[in-house]
Amino acid sequence: MDEKKLIGDAGRTEYLREIVEELKNDPDWQLPPPARFWLYGPWEWDLIYQ
């Protein structure tokens, strides 16, 4: 895996946070914003447990 290829120099955590911020405001996503509560964290623990 090329760890730097997509995540840039800011770090992996920041890369994931950037995606999360984008999704919180994604107008094309059918899930209404109030229903997106999981994105407000702590999502890293749910992902590692799931």
Partner: protein, 384 residues
């Protein structure tokens, strides 16, 4: 009684039993995962996306079976997660009913220092790339993962759980736990999320100081931010995992300190906690004398309920009694005899909630023996 009246009556009786204040009978507690769906002849995976059909299937059995309280009735995920993420630790088995958990630990033994430095960042920076490397190679895939998880959590927590509660309330069954304020002991967080069964148990022997340092960091980074203002009812809860595998000495050093902090916090707010004492806790029951009387509802799993009643039942509330193996393999008569002995031993002095030892997770767990047992305990305990 109509539903609201029945609900109010059952709730009052449940609280009286826990408060040793003259309950009319011993409350019976639902220990369901999704097994009740199989009792209706359906698979969970076939109906889960029709919330009303699923909630009806989860609750239909209570038209025939007396039950007072509910601890956990439902699922934390749908098959949408496993259909979109690989690998996963949690999924439905091939029968479409049984939730299966396969531990996939990604943390190495020499990484406690990194964990202790910043637990949240350690997971997102180090462990997630190991588990889901594609998320760090393909931005669109990472977006899809977040969307699938967010949609699934919304559906399970904000749609399915409330709908099932609504259907259960028609039978007066009271949800007395709030899983949104679920507690995880730092040692269980390490066990469940990071090092797994084998790794955790080796670590507590070979590097206990580093484990303790990580537990302290997890308390600050994982537990404290999750605390909410204490509410009197429903109660916070804890599904424990690693405790029965620790020696009493290690339990008291690495586990109990954090557990007690949580219990004391809830008790100081006038509430209670429910603890699923998975496995055997008999060697450490004495610790519950160090917290406020009757602030813990202790679900007894592998330990003998009559012994638990004698040893711990005078100062904490105990729950459990009927082994699922008896429900699955016993006759109607043997189950009734066992239930009678349990009520005779545990009902005096109150502070006792009848339940099975294990949760109802498999397709055969909700059956006629279980229905007859719960109905018998309700009727028999009125007279005891």
């Amino acid at each position: 009684m109509d539903s609201p009246e029945l609900y109010a009556y059952k709730k009052e009786n449940l609280l009286k039993a826990m408060g040793r204040a003259g309950a009319d009978y011993v409350p019976t507690i639902v220990a369901a995962s999704c097994s009740a769906v199989a009792w209706t002849g359906q698979k969970v995976t076939d109906i889960i996306f029709d919330k009303d059909r699923y909630a009806k299937a989860m609750s239909d059995v209570y038209a025939q079976m007396w039950a007072d309280g509910n601890t956990f009735c439902g699922t934390l995920f749908t098959q949408n997660v496993e259909n979109n993420l690989d690998p996963v630790q949690n999924k439905f088995g091939p029968d479409g009913v049984t939730p299966e958990h396969v531990q996939l630990p990604y943390m190495e033994a020499d990484e406690y220092g990194e964990l202790a430095k910043d637990p949240n960042r350690f997971v997102s920076e180090i462990l997630l790339p190991r588990k889901y490397p594609q998320m760090f190679e393909d931005r669109e895939y990472a977006k899809k993962v977040f969307k699938v998880m967010a949609e699934d959590k919304f559906y399970c927590f904000a749609v399915l759980f409330p709908t099932v509660s609504e259907y259960m309330a028609k039978y007066g069954i009271v949800d007395f736990l709030d899983f949104s304020i679920n507690f995880s002991n730092p040692m269980d967080t390490i066990f469940d999320n990071l090092r797994g069964f084998k790794g955790s148990l080796i670590d507590v022997r070979r590097q206990p100081e580093k484990v303790k340092e990580a537990c302290d960091a997890l308390w600050e980074a994982y537990n404290v931010p999750r605390f909410r203002p204490v509410v009197e009812f429903p109660y916070s809860c804890h599904m424990t995992h690693i405790a029965p595998y620790l020696s009493p000495k290690v339990f008291k050093t690495l586990y109990w300190d954090y557990e007690k902090r949580w219990i004391d916090r809830q008790a100081a707010g006038g509430s209670r906690v429910w603890i699923m004492m998975e496995g055997s806790w008999a060697k450490v029951w004495d610790v519950f004398q160090d917290v406020q009387k009757d602030c813990c509802i202790l679900h007894v799993d592998d330990d003998d309920i009559s012994l638990a009643k004698r040893e711990v039942g005078d100062y904490q509330i105990i729950e459990g009694g009927m082994p699922m193996v008896d429900i699955l393999l016993g006759t109607s008569e043997s189950v009734r005899d066992k239930a009678k002995r349990i009520v005779d031993d545990c009902a005096p002095g109150e502070g006792f909630l009848f339940c099975t030892d294990k949760a109802w997770i498999g397709p055969r767990d909700v059956n006629q023996n279980l229905i007859d047992c719960y109905n018998f305990v309700h009727e028999y305990s009125k007279r005891s």
